[in-house]
């Protein structure tokens, strides 16, 4: 049953990768990559159970956090054009200072 779930996960990751490659805007690509990261976390957990070694769950835990931080960083870079801003309401306020 873990093999069936892993196959379904791979199919879903292929579909999301299609959206990441085709996406008309950058936000579509970020959304697809975030979803691929979430499915990678679940795939690591399922593959650990498939091999009979659930020790890989620590990797899944670390990957979930890295995925979240990466998504937020890419979004901040797209929105403000700079990773060092304090996150004000608009880009113009940050550039005036």
């Amino acid at each position: 049953m873990f093999a069936v779930t892993a196959a379904a996960l791979l199919v879903a990751m292929c579909l999301a990768m299609c959206r990441a490659l085709l996406g008309p805007t950058a936000y579509d690509r970020v959304l697809a990559l975030n979803n691929i990261g979430t499915m990678t976390v679940v795939l690591i957990a399922v593959l650990g159970f498939l091999n009979g070694r659930p020790d890989f769950l620590d990797l899944a835990l670390a990957y979930a956090l890295i995925n979240f931080i990466g998504t937020i960083a890419v979004l901040k870079y797209i929105e403000y054009g700079d990773l060092g801003t304090s996150g004000g309401p608009r880009r113009r306020n940050a550039s005036r200072r």
């Binding site: 049953m1 873990f2 069936v4 779930t5 379904a8 996960l9 199919v11 879903a12 990751m13 579909l15 999301a16 299609c18 959206r19 805007t25 936000y27 579509d28 970020v30 959304l31 697809a32 975030n34 979803n35 979430t38 499915m39 976390v41 679940v42 957990a45 399922v46 159970f49 659930p54 769950l57 620590d58 899944a60 835990l61 979930a64 956090l65 995925n67 979240f68 998504t71 937020i72 979004l75 797209i78 929105e79 608009r90």
Partner: protein, 119 residues
């Protein structure tokens, strides 16, 4: 008997989670807009990953592996809405326009949607 019930439960949870994941990915390919795609991806994140991880919890019993699975589930359920919210905020301020039925070439269905909104 108990092992069979648990096995059937794990099968049902894993397969329904896989169904939700494939449906969410399909919706992310086929839906017309970044916001509607966000909706499909949110369903895949919450229900798909949640059901699969709960199924793995039921399979592993009560030990340290279950604690790690629940931690992964908690992190996913905290970080996924935050990432989706940040993405929606960035997309709105970045100029992405939400897809509406009234503004497109489907005028008849657009008027139906407006009537439904007023009532």
């Amino acid at each position: 008997m108990m092992a069979q019930v648990l096995s059937v439960l794990v099968w049902a949870l894993l397969l329904s989670g896989a169904f939700f994941l494939v449906t969410g990915a399909l919706g992310m390919v086929r839906l017309p807009d970044v916001f509607t795609r966000m909706h499909a991806a949110g369903m895949a994140d919450t229900m798909g990953a949640g059901l699969i991880l709960v199924g793995l919890c039921v399979h592993s019993g009560v030990n340290l592996v279950t604690l790690r699975l629940l931690l992964v589930l908690a992190f996913l359920w905290f970080t996924s809405p935050i990432a989706t919210h940040a993405l929606a905020k960035a997309a709105l301020s970045g100029g992405a326009e939400p897809y509406t039925l009234a503004g497109g070439d489907e005028g008849e269905r657009g008027t139906e949607a407006e009537g439904g909104g007023m009532s």
